[in-house]
């Protein structure tokens, strides 16, 4: 102990330097907005990089499954091309605006972080503000249905509030009879392969394996596949019932997603904002 004390007092200049310099740095980082933002940003950058690198391994393991899904998608797209080519051009009417630009455009993105075990799950993807993303854009997975909404964007990354989140509502309909309800997850069942549809009017007759698609009333385009009915629900003397579905989308193996950019999203939002003001 005495030796330690002698050591410290002999090199007191150095120890004082450490103490005072640390105090100075702490003052700098805590009290200046710029330095603080840089510190936290670089930390986030590090975290993002770590996740990206970890994901390389996972990506490799899942290559087979991804291959299959890509092949399936290829096939689907090819069929679509064929069907378009075979349409009689004189009668064709395409839903496009006057400049010939389609209303929805799809931007592929890679999942770099995913969770399915929490009550509220988020996904991180490798596209961000620089690629034109903004909060609220809908996200789907290739051929297998809905994923969620963009929650927050940074310059090159974005987080998605996945369907497996208590704040996520998506308007869906039953394909065969257009009964509209809202898709939620986690109502008494936290299985990531199942979801519930609330507010289906009681008078619709549903059967197992009915296909569920998006209705087009929320920001998703109409007709995106969601799942099949697995439990037609019990009507307890009320006007609406809740049914359970099997999701097409397997959230545990999500690798690539498509972000949907709606050309008229802003316009629609503004128009509908006016409506609520009038009420």
């Amino acid at each position: 102990m005495r030796n330690l004390w002698i050591f410290i007092s002999r090199y007191n200049a150095f120890f004082f330097f450490i103490i005072f310099f640390t105090a100075g740095i702490i003052l700098t980082v805590r009290n200046n907005i710029y330095q603080r933002s840089v510190t936290f940003n670089s930390t986030n950058q590090v975290v993002g990089d770590v996740y990206k690198n970890l994901n390389v391994l996972k990506k490799y393991i899942n290559l087979g499954a991804v291959n299959d899904s890509l092949a399936a998608e290829n096939a689907k797209l090819k069929t679509e091309i064929l069907s378009i080519k075979n349409i009689d051009t004189t009668k064709e009417t395409v839903v496009k605006d006057s400049a010939g630009i389609p209303q929805y455009t799809y931007l592929p993105a890679r999942v770099i972080k995913n969770s399915i075990t929490n009550r509220n799950n988020f996904i991180t993807i490798n596209k961000g503000k620089a690629d034109g993303l903004s909060a609220g854009m809908p996200v789907i997975s290739p051929i297998k249905g809905v994923v969620g909404y963009i929650q927050d964007v940074s310059e090159h990354l974005a987080t998605i509030r996945s369907l497996l989140h208590k704040e996520t509502y998506i308007s869906v309909s039953i394909k065969k009879n257009n009964a509209v309800g809202s898709l939620i997850w986690g109502e008494g069942n936290f299985d990531y392969r199942k979801a519930q549809i609330k507010d289906i009017p009681n008078h619709f007759k549903l059967s197992l394996k009915d296909t569920v698609i998006t209705s087009g009333f929320s920001s998703f385009p109409q007709g995106v596949l969601v799942g099949t009915v697995s439990n037609t629900g019990i009507s307890a003397g009320e006007n609406f019932k809740t049914i359970e579905i099997n999701l097409f989308n397997d959230f545990s193996t999500l690798q690539y997603v498509y972000v949907i950019k709606d050309k008229y999203a802003q316009e629609q939002k503004e128009l509908e904002a006016k409506l609520t003001n009038e009420q």
Binding site: A13, F16, F21, A23, G24, I25, N31, N32, Q35
Partner: protein, 170 residues
């Protein structure tokens, strides 16, 4: 003798800080060379000063500068770094029984003072500019600014020392 030194240092502190805050704060050459002449005060503190007191004075001076520059902590860290280099340099080059009260140009000679000032000013400026920029991507620009500012500060410091040059008659 001792009280004369204390009063001289207090007056020096006031004048140099006022000079820095009122005049030099608005001065910069192409945003590349900015003089920080107030470090002269820390350079000229007497030899016999205890380390802890030197650090406290450096910390306080830096804090005062920071409150006028709105960069809390940047000048403080830089001044503490300068104090550390000053202690090291003096412990290496000056024997304990030095009869000079304070390290001025007149007392210590031009060569000693130049090396002393270069090392102290450069350590101060490099801490200052790196904390201010706070990233390594602009390292070339930061180093250039640091070097040019150091040269300017050194120039002004030596100039002031020559103006108040009074060689002791031995």
């Amino acid at each position: 003798m001792n009280s004369r030194l204390i009063i001289a240092n207090i007056i020096r502190w006031l004048i140099l800080l006022l000079f820095q805050i009122l005049i030099l704060r608005n001065m910069s050459f192409y945003n590349m060379a900015t003089p920080f002449v107030y470090v002269l005060f820390l350079l000229l503190l007497p030899f016999g000063i205890p380390n802890i007191l030197l650090y406290l004075i450096a910390f306080g001076t830096g804090l005062t500068l920071d409150s006028f520059y709105d960069t809390l902590g940047v000048h403080t860290s830089a001044c503490v770094a300068l104090a550390f280099v000053r202690i090291l340099f003096i412990s290496v080059t000056v024997r304990d029984g030095s009869d000079e009260p304070e390290p001025t140009l007149g007392n210590m000679g031009f060569k000693w003072f130049l090396l002393y000032a270069v090392l102290c000013i450069f350590s101060h400026h490099i801490t200052l500019f790196f904390l201010e920029t706070f990233r390594l991507t602009e390292i070339n620009y930061t180093l250039l600014r640091c070097a040019l500012s150091s040269i300017l500060t050194l120039f002004v410091v030596i100039l002031i020392e020559f103006v108040f040059y009074n060689r002791k008659v031995r």
